[in-house]
Symmetry: D2
Subunit: 308 residues, 4 copies
Amino acid sequence: VILGHEYTGTIHDLGEGVKNDFIGNPVEVGDKVVNCTIAYCENCYICNVKRTPTMCPNTKQLSRFTCDKPPHLFGGFAEYIYLPPGFAFFKAPEGVPDEALATANCALGTIVHSYEKVGLEIGDSVVIQGVGGLGLYGAALAKRIGASKVIAIDQVQDRLKFSEEFGADHTINMLEYRTPEEREKKVKELTGGWGADLVVDVSGTPKAIPEGVKMLRKGGRYLEIGCVFPNALFQMDAILFPYSEITMTGVRLYEPRHLWKGLKFLEETKDKYPYKKLVSHKFKLEEINKAFELFDQRKVLRPGIIPG
Amino acid sequence: VILGHEYTGTIHDLGEGVKNDFIGNPVEVGDKVVNCTIAYCENCYICNVKRTPTMCPNTKQLSRFTCDKPPHLFGGFAEYIYLPPGFAFFKAPEGVPDEALATANCALGTIVHSYEKVGLEIGDSVVIQGVGGLGLYGAALAKRIGASKVIAIDQVQDRLKFSEEFGADHTINMLEYRTPEEREKKVKELTGGWGADLVVDVSGTPKAIPEGVKMLRKGGRYLEIGCVFPNALFQMDAILFPYSEITMTGVRLYEPRHLWKGLKFLEETKDKYPYKKLVSHKFKLEEINKAFELFDQRKVLRPGIIPG
Amino acid sequence: VILGHEYTGTIHDLGEGVKNDFIGNPVEVGDKVVNCTIAYCENCYICNVKRTPTMCPNTKQLSRFTCDKPPHLFGGFAEYIYLPPGFAFFKAPEGVPDEALATANCALGTIVHSYEKVGLEIGDSVVIQGVGGLGLYGAALAKRIGASKVIAIDQVQDRLKFSEEFGADHTINMLEYRTPEEREKKVKELTGGWGADLVVDVSGTPKAIPEGVKMLRKGGRYLEIGCVFPNALFQMDAILFPYSEITMTGVRLYEPRHLWKGLKFLEETKDKYPYKKLVSHKFKLEEINKAFELFDQRKVLRPGIIPG
Amino acid sequence: VILGHEYTGTIHDLGEGVKNDFIGNPVEVGDKVVNCTIAYCENCYICNVKRTPTMCPNTKQLSRFTCDKPPHLFGGFAEYIYLPPGFAFFKAPEGVPDEALATANCALGTIVHSYEKVGLEIGDSVVIQGVGGLGLYGAALAKRIGASKVIAIDQVQDRLKFSEEFGADHTINMLEYRTPEEREKKVKELTGGWGADLVVDVSGTPKAIPEGVKMLRKGGRYLEIGCVFPNALFQMDAILFPYSEITMTGVRLYEPRHLWKGLKFLEETKDKYPYKKLVSHKFKLEEINKAFELFDQRKVLRPGIIPG
């Protein structure tokens, strides 16, 4: 398998008969594009009757295609990539930096999907638990579609600082507000005593969940998209469902329309948020091992690979 | 406080200027009515901006009105009851047995509310964990609005038998299917391998939750309305949110429209379900202590009090 | 072209690798099935971004496949039919009469789609303008998913009588209530003065529209699915949009899930409604011209063709 | 009657027990506030069962309160105004110009309400027919909550120019594009051939309707909020409902939450749009007749009255 599922590139060659992108825009060799790395069957109970294709049992994922079969090239860490028929791709909007385009087809698509699922209203308050890549997009998109207050929680001051550039109105540093109780109190303070309308957990630790659900207002919604590994056990009090009417949900991956909406969002906000900074250090393809190493040592926060 | 919040009665006298019920039907002395025992402020962030009045911090509940203040009579275990202004009431539909009317303004209203919140589609499969009063209405209403398969789970064979009269298509006796794994397997079998579209927990035990969420299909919804006491702790795997895209939620109480819809439902199904059996034994008001005693001893399942 | 788009049949032979129907039920030769006669591209702005595939510009319709190309057989008026890959089909539920199955894949699918689009709530009142095939399903499905009052309007007493067998609670004969004003008044009377929550026009005459929109309650919805020919001009007062907040919409065709939901509905109601009567007279395939002739002369109301 | 329903002001005195605004923010004398001029009964079929209170038959409107009854002052063209109990009011957000606050409680509230009703998605294209006050807010809010393309149509070049400052991406001058066909063609061109996702008519002429519905993409939505006078007759082809699946609707007035959301929107965009210009000329209260006169002569476009 060739790794790498967050990338962008230009069209080197087009398959026979391919004249348009997924929504009908004409494309030609040399155009910059972004593509979905997953395709759904659209032909089963989950895809068609329930219309939640990201749960389709017959999903095809590029990242599962092995490079021992021609045309071999299905992963992002390469100079060329082959996109099989049935995988959606979109012409990139003008003027959006590669640094944003490359992260659109995973982090951004997932955030668009999850906000579509829970719904956001004008004036909503949103807490983001953990402001890595998903969290930054979570902050930026929430502000773009109407949220009036985004509160970022993290334990790394640099990340909190950075989140402010992506729309966070307030930050809570876990080294300063040391207990879940202190943080809950702070969120309540910042939300007129009600609690947050939406809490988004992208911290990747199940401990965040019992803490986060207490930050919700009555009737609030909790989005869990960080715990993508098995045995992410958490314990909480079931009374929060009937007595506080909270809703908990999550999403996995995204559909083509979420990627398309993500690109429209990037187009609208390209001058508003510092997308170029999403990649902190650039490496050549042959330096990729070094990049991973430095990332593991936390010497480099958000490395990018520039092939060719 | 005079206890009793599930009841029906006839109008003994009308306050000045009261000519219609809550939705404009003309009423007069002698009409049978059903009323809401809660009123909402309609004048706060929760009621008006978020439109979830059952979460209103300024709720008025009849069951909190004490009998030391005139006109004293605010509870159901009495010959007369006084309904203060602002509490919705509806003329009872013709031909619906008192046994059903009396339970409409709590159990049924709550079920209507919860199904409105999660949405039910034609063809859905529904699992009910625990078939007491809420569970029976859960089964009956699910079938009425389009569910094609209702599966009742309980450990009392009589209750399971009874649930079949209220629409359950299949029953799972916990004494026969002894482990969560066996029950999950049975639900999967009954749902073509997918799992249930909706699982409703009205069992009142938090242990039902980690078991129930595994019975869901990918993208399924879990309704928790049974755990209405604090410290109903449960533990589960957070990966079910992102990887299985499940949704968990619950409701408390109901709004006037849910009671009205419940009455419409009773009117439509009065000949379909054996509502008279909802009260298994009748007692006079002066026998109320005996009724409670026999209920505590489980000698009487669903006692009813008939004042006057 | 071989005509005929409302039909059912049994599997004569299965294509290579076809083992299940569209939602994963195993199928084999001899099984009775129902199929969609349309397939959508799922790969354009309309299908994927806006998720309204019945508006897809790349739709494939069996009724447009000509019989000069092998395997020639794409229409319903024939002994055999070939279903190309990509067209959804479903195993028929047990015990549902052929007379219902044959009409599922157009009339019923369209009604399911349209009710899904506008939403129906428990207790709703529904007016049906014109009770032909679409209107009968409109009445029956409305009652099944919660409507409490269905009012049928037509000028043929036999059709009105028949609609009562399919769920209509009240009928208005246009020969008795002669003017739009009289009919509007009658609808208001039957709906407690409010007007109907939903009016469905399947009469096929644009004159029904300005009349029907006045039958709506404030905030009511109007479904126009009868005027499927160009230049169906109508005139109305635009003030009904802002001042009465009415909504008007319609649908064309259906998606696979609507057909599937329709089959679930038929399964649930097979003993409730007299589906066998949906075909009033049966003809052999070689008598088809006679059937059309008698239908044109209105000597036969709902003819059915039984090949083989 | 004292006229004037679009205004803002500061609290001169508070009624007994009034300590908070409608959503619980503490208020005191001297605070700037904005109020709803309508109150709903919340206690009828329309308010509670159908939850569309702007259609409530028991609405109270300040503009209907006559000045012959104490405390006399219910209209905006005055130095003081008395707000009776039950009418929602909100503390104004800091830094929003009076020119915007004064128009929030009619034009903006109505736009918020109408977009909530039809739903707007990221990437939508929106056509505004007529860019007066409602149209400017229609453009600005559409852009704020995700629309990627707003197209303004008008016959006054100055208004089109002004609409660009409020978010319009493209303008179509009716003096340049002279026929409905030319304008439809231009909209199609600007929307990749699909047509617009949403067309909003605030032109106040019913002729705009048959023109506007043809500008929609298949499945598009049409918002009619301009024709607020009787006999606004229009004629169109009914086939657009089933064959193009368009939806037409409208709203009247707004609920408290729409005003609140409007204020949140103003707060977020106070530096983005030139709200001060919404009032083109200011007049003292005693000059009000002159203001109306100049407006009638079209010498003054958007006059404002500054009492005291």
